[in-house]
């Protein structure tokens, strides 16, 4: 008897509990939410978080995940009933072939889109691998122009490419030089040659600066990673150029600028084009003297946009520096989310279409409304900055400038 009572009570309890759960869920959370909240859209986040590019890759990953977290906490993808974005992380180990292998794994994991993969050579491999499976791939940094010139319909780059950056770099330098009374007669270029992003710089600079009467007197290239710049600096001493134009990654940037300082070589100005360390808050905080007055034409956010300051604060609160890797990966992820939002689907093809026709303008970069042509955001442009005191100020173009360039640099 007692057994029977117990059995009945247990059944009754389960029935009541189940009914109660449904009532509570339906009443408080609404039925569609329960059904659709279970959905998620997988995004592959591939970066070199080990190997020579590990620092920059980790910064990129941080930026991408910060954006993903913001999107999710703001309610996810609304057109998909609040579906959350789910990151599928991959480590390219600073090698192109590993990056491609990670994309294969991500395809197996069913990602709808990919954000990555920092270095140009890795991006070339990951976009190619993603193209095989029709996965839309948003390149966060990878500035080599080859990234978007191979006719891959799945590849998009929200930020500027090398050609645009160098062209703006030349224009901005001419603007700064003219404003200073045209003191520059000669420049020397030092660029990396391993990942291929800086290979064309000498040609573009020579062509662009010649009409101004500025001669490119020396071009030095070096591998990445590079552990010693004394030789390069000795050669630079010999040519005695007015301005030195470096173009390389962070580690080499730090070592190069410190070697210049150690060898007491002080040209009229250092004007980097994609100088890895030249516009990095981290370099400024660690080596304020070596960083002083260094100019850089590089990826930069719109300093007048309050959202950029909010993102900077959030990054610094997490103990990170608000470097270009962070804000480029951050915006690449937000661009991806916007495309998914408009596609209203996790279907790769629909997202690709939404990316190609994107007119997204809710970002804090100085790019204006998005317009993709062959995968390149046409409005994307770099800004010229200069380290002045404890801050990195925008010095050109004048529309975004927060300070006047100090050129030639004070002794």
């Amino acid at each position: 008897m007692s057994k029977g009572v117990n059995r009945k009570t247990r059944r009754e309890f389960i029935k009541t509990a189940a009914a109660g759960t449904v009532v509570v869920a339906a009443g408080n959370l609404s039925f569609p939410y329960i059904v659709k909240a279970a959905k998620s859209v997988k995004i592959g986040v591939v970066h070199p978080v080990t190997g020579w590019a590990q620092y920059s890759g980790s910064q990129c990953r941080f930026g991408a995940l910060m954006a993903l977290e913001e999107i999710n906490s703001a309610g996810g993808i609304k057109s998909m009933g609040g579906a959350k974005l789910e990151a599928v992380l991959g480590d390219a180990q600073s090698k192109a072939e590993i990056g491609a292998a990670e994309v294969e794994k991500m395809n197996g994991a069913g990602v709808s889109s990919i954000v990555g993969a920092y270095a140009s050579n890795i991006c070339l491999a990951t976009t190619q691998a993603a193209a095989k499976h029709g996965i839309p791939h948003v390149v966060d940094v990878g500035v080599s122009d080859k990234v978007v010139s191979r006719g891959l319909s799945n590849t998009f780059r929200f930020g500027p490419g090398f050609g645009i950056i160098t062209r703006v770099g030349v224009e901005s330098f001419i603007e700064i030089n003219r404003a200073a009374g045209s003191p520059t007669k000669s420049v020397a270029i030092v660029h990396e040659n391993t990942t291929g992003f800086g290979a064309g710089i000498a040609g573009i600079m020579t062509k662009g600066l010649k009409p101004e009467g500025i001669e490119v007197v020396d071009v030095q290239s070096h591998p990445t990673p590079n552990k010693d710049f004394r030789n390069i600096v000795l050669k630079l001493k010999e040519v005695d150029a007015d301005v030195i134009i470096p173009s390389h990654y962070y580690g080499e940037g730090v070592l190069f600028l410190r070697t210049l300082q150690r060898q007491k070589l002080q040209p009229k100005g250092i004007y980097s084009v994609l100088g890895g360390a030249s516009s990095q808050y981290r370099f400024l905080s660690e080596f304020p003297n070596a960083a002083q007055y260094v100019m850089d034409c590089n990826h930069w956010f719109d300093p007048n946009n309050s959202a950029s300051m909010a993102a900077r604060k959030k990054t610094e609160a997490a103990g990170k520096h608000f470097n270009y890797e962070v804000f480029l990966a951050y915006t690449a992820m937000k661009f991806t989310a916007d495309a998914i939002e408009r596609a209203g689907s996790s279907d790769r093809e629909k997202i690709t279409e939404a990316m190609a026709s994107s007119n997204w303008s809710g970002h804090f970069m100085p790019y204006g409304q998005t317009k993709m042509v062959n995968g390149q955001n046409m409005g994307a442009q770099p800004l010229a900055t200069q380290v002045l005191g404890k801050e990195i100020e925008v010095i050109a173009p004048s529309k975004y400038a927060t300070a006047k360039a100090l050129f030639p640099r004070p002794a």
Binding site: N226, K227, R230, N231, K235, E238
Partner: protein, 302 residues
């Protein structure tokens, strides 16, 4: 202006630049020698290639960094802690892991070292992250102007450090009982055991001294190079070349080999460019081994 060399057109430079480059090669070479000294000792005795050497260098550099960062200890003063610490770490590592796991077989030791290096590197990556960490010392930019190049104190310290460590190691190996025991074990393991030398202890002592050397090298490198989990690779691959070039197991050979490679590399980079210039290391390596297969200072038995 260009000059022709074996049909290749090379850019010519002033004698000041060539001399400056050679001097910078000496300083770069002293860094290679510093890293190679510990490597050659471990090879000379244990007859194994220490794949974990780069990881040990990296860990020691982190130790120097944290002693500076947390306690404010100058990198050179931190040698007082990291060198004995390195010895104890190396001794314990050999006694507890490498010696036991390898069962006296060289081919297994090689794999064990590789495993240890992977574990160390990933542990560093997990705890210290991929971020580069730099030490800032007040004398970072002070030094001497040699006219053709400027030499800063950290570079001079690295050169003097490598000379001093070579001298101390040579003295230790030549005149102390432990040094003689190490040489005995390296020449004839079985014979050494028969005359009462504790071979396992000597193995661990050698590994400990090798690690202590790499710890000293770390303290001398930190004022110039930022620390990150991959930093060991930057020096160790060339240090292997230095060891073979100088003669395996020879300290004087490691020093001479380091300096030769340093100067060759710098001059090669000057004339052939930063990337292609590295080929000169391989060329000089092949030439030396063609005429002296045991290396510059290697004995026939090694």
């Amino acid at each position: 202006m260009t000059i022709d060399f074996l049909g290749i057109s090379l850019q010519s430079y002033s004698w000041q630049t060539v001399l400056g480059s050679s001097i910078s090669g000496v300083f770069l070479g002293s860094i290679y020698a510093l890293v190679a000294l510990g490597l050659t000792l471990i090879y000379g005795v244990l007859h194994i290639i220490n794949f974990a050497h780069g990881s040990l260098l990296m860990l020691a550099m982190y130790a120097v960094f944290f002693l500076w960062n947390i306690l404010g200890l100058d990198p050179y003063l931190s040698m007082l802690i990291v060198v004995p610490g390195g010895y104890l770490f190396g001794y314990t590592l050999q006694r507890t892991i490498i010696g036991k796991a390898s069962h006296g077989k060289d081919e297994i030791t090689l794999l064990v070292m590789l495993g240890v290096s992977i574990v160390m590197e990933n542990t560093a990556l997990f705890f210290f992250t991929a971020t580069d960490r730099s030490v800032r010392v007040p004398y970072d930019l002070d030094g001497f102007d040699l006219g053709v190049t400027y030499v800063v104190y950290p570079e001079i310290a690295a050169l003097l450090g490598s000379l001093l460590i070579t001298l101390v190691l040579w003295f230790f190996m030549s005149y102390t009982d432990t040094g003689k025991a190490i040489r005995a074990v390296s020449k004839e393991r079985q014979g050494a055991r028969l005359v009462g030398i504790n071979v396992e202890h000597i193995f661990a002592v050698s590994f400990g001294i090798g690690t202590a050397c790499v710890a000293a090298a770390a303290a001398l490198l930190v004022p110039t190079y930022a620390v990150h989990p991959q930093i060991g690779y930057l020096f160790v691959l060339i240090a292997f070349t230095v060891v073979v070039l100088g003669g395996m197991g020879s300290f004087v050979g490691a020093l001479a080999g380091g300096l030769i490679i340093g100067v060759t590399e710098q001059l090669g980079r000057l004339y052939l460019g930063e990337s292609l210039g590295l080929i000169t290391i391989s060329v000089i390596f092949i030439i030396v081994l063609l005429f002296r297969p045991t290396g510059l200072f290697g004995s026939k038995s090694s």
